[in-house]
């Protein structure tokens, strides 16, 4: 039989699979339209809209204090940082300078949020790659951070602790003590994370060279956060455009140039160490000062456009407020890190295996409500 005959007899077809909206690897309601040839992915098309709550439109209806509450529901793993972004934008518009105490507390809580988010990501990353135990190790430590938050602001997920002008109320008397205890605890536990997963030969094989994203592509697609920093693109807003107390602390920007899933993994592990170092520098000397600068009960931003960006656990979150001088914003736009990072997925997932797509998605750390506001 000639080759030609074999070819006509052996016919393979590409087929189409819905990965999601209910799929264990999507961590939410992300629907990926996969075109697959055997195990090899030919095309990935994300389909959004399954958790669209029109947050931006709702913001136009609400007062500026109320907007803060909506942002918790975007990236629920960095809710404090989302709150901070809106508060900073409104404060910019009102030209309020918050006290040093507020700045330092916001920074500490922001870094604790980043730690909690990265812990969850670490657990889920292991789980996506089939190492189910990581999830529980991560949650053991994450619970401690949630306890600290719960004591101070009463919530564990949707915080609403920051308000335009400062904080809703002062930190709990135990806050400093428990944060220190947590940092001491987690400094012994983070090496355990490395021992369990980082050096594992299967883990390295599954992530090294998988989901390669070049620096040029990262910039072109607007990727930010650990995804961009894993490709060598220094995009940390805390360094480039410091807000709150980040200009007063000394920390290194986690930067790796390999651009694969393993580099993104290492970026986040290093960020956990840096977050702990930032908290260490600030926790012992929280300055005295006002908890909240006085604002009017009904905040009216002056006519104009205001923009502020912050570094959430996932990357650059930008808040754009267009005000016409009334008590409601005319237009609000969130530049969410997840949306831009997701747009890279199609570009880097062509021709990889299904398992590689899962590993890549795990290293991107998607939170779907953040992508689909």
């Amino acid at each position: 039989m000639t080759d030609q005959k074999v070819k006509t007899k052996m016919k393979t077809e590409e087929y189409f699979v819905n990965m999601g909206p209910q799929h264990p690897a999507a961590h939410g309601v992300l629907r990926l339209l996969l075109t697959i040839d055997g195990e090899i992915i030919k095309n990935v098309e994300p389909d959004l809209g399954y958790i669209h709550r029109s947050i931006e439109k709702m913001c136009e209806r609400d007062s500026y204090q109320q907007i803060v509450h909506l942002t918790d529901r975007m990236d629920y793993l960095s809710s404090h940082i989302n709150n901070e972004a809106v508060c900073l934008t409104v404060e910019k518009g009102l030209e309020i300078e918050v006290s040093d105490r507020v700045k330092v507390i916001r920074t500490i809580i922001g870094e604790l949020t980043r730690l909690a988010s990265h812990q969850l990501w670490w657990g889920v990353m292991g789980m996506d790659l089939g190492a189910l135990t990581t999830y529980f190790y991560a949650f053991r430590d994450r619970e401690l951070i949630n306890d600290i938050f719960e004591e101070t602001c009463g919530a564990r997920l949707t915080m609403n602790y920051f308000v335009p002008g400062g904080l809703m109320y002062d930190i709990h008397p135990n806050f400093v003590k428990r944060t220190k205890e947590f940092i001491a605890h987690f400094k012994t536990k983070l090496p355990e994370y490395d021992r369990l997963l980082t050096g594992n030969v299967i883990f390295e094989k599954r992530t090294k060279g998988v989901g390669m994203l070049t620096k040029e592509d990262a910039i072109a697609f607007g990727a930010t956060g650990p995804v961009a920093r894993g490709s060598g693109f220094a995009s940390d807003i805390r360094k480039k455009d410091p807000y709150s107390a980040y200009d007063k602390v000394d920390f290194k920007e986690a930067l790796f140039t390999e651009g694969d899933s393993y580099a993104r993994y290492k970026v986040r592990i290093m960020e956990m160490w840096e977050s702990m170092s930032i908290i260490d520098q600030l926790i012992d000397n929280i300055p005295e000062g006002n908890i909240k600068e006085p604002t009017k009960a009904v905040i009216k931003l002056p006519k104009g456009e205001f923009y502020q960006r912050v570094e959430t656990a996932r990357g650059e979150l930008g808040v754009y407020i267009n005000s016409t001088g009334t008590k409601n914003p005319y237009r609000v736009k969130f530049r969410s890190p997840g949306f831009s990072n997701l747009s890279v997925l199609n570009h880097i997932s062509k021709g990889v295996k299904i398992a590689d797509l899962v590993a890549t998605m795990a290293s991107f750390d998607f939170v779907i409500p953040d992508i689909d506001r």
């Binding site: 195990e39 789980m127 089939g130 189910l132 135990t133 529980f136 599954r206 398992a355």
Partner: protein
Amino acid sequence: MMNIPLNIVSTVHDWLFSIMPEGVATVTEWIIVAALYLALFAVIGLYLVLLERKVAAWFQLRLGPNRVGPWGIFQTIADALKLVSKEIYNPARVDGFLFKIAPYFVIVGALISMSVFPFSKQFQAFDINIGIFFLFSVSSIGVIGILLGGWASNNKFALIGAMRSGLQTISYELSVGLSLLTMVLLAGSLQLSEIIEVQRTGGWLILQGHIPAIIAFMIFMIAGTAETNRAPFDLVEAESELGAGFHTEYSGMQFAYFFLAEFINMFIISSIAVVLFFGGWLSPFGITEGITWFPEFLWFFIKVLIIIFLMMWFRWTFPRLRVDQLLTLEWKYLLPLNLVNLVIMAVVIWLNWTF
């Protein structure tokens, strides 16, 4: 040496033959033995599920099942009752016949292979002279069930899982077979009871065969874990990639068959390891050699549990391999190593370097 189990067996045997004609008595005896074995495997399967959940809990800073009965010992029975009472649901447009028959292939393959194990000197259903060969051939029936189930489910994820299962089992069966062959070379017999008798005088085969035997054991554990589709080789049901893999569409008792078969297969792999490497029901250093009343099958089960614990340890520690890495590991590393190891073993036996 008259042992208690043998006593009971021969009493029942004599009684059956005294009250009915020979042919009927033989068939009745078969049925009794089969029923006993089925009950034994149901218990083993259920309690391995419980053990897995407890072991997982220990590894994961959790408590595990602890509500139904003390230490949760009735939890899996409650789960099984729930599965039995559940509707067997056939999704639309499945291939009905194949869909229904697939779980039985898996469970029957697992059950048949159990019948040749010598749990103790007398506790063995049938002792054929090609024991290892028989085990090896019937344990491959299971993959047919998985392939059929995945194909008939009319679900793409199930199909991907089934195809992965096919290539995984076909590849790793080579390694399992070759590592067993290495040990058979050392034992000089395919009959399981013979293999154990060899170890009574000469010590466990893993000590007799030293370096090549240890290599064979390692290969056997890796390939055996892959054969049973357990982590880190659980690509077949990789839940973060394929939902539940080949049994995505199954529910109720059909699902339970797949689930139980996995645990019974794990028991089989561990049992083969115990028989071929660790002396089967022989006590370590012969400490209970002279005690006639000691139930020797306890040693068998203790050794099996240790190896099962090892496999559970793998599962709750390692991430999952990718499908091409799985094949690379087998065809580029394990298989050549295995062939070389077989030659080394032959040379060791030829030069009489065994202990």
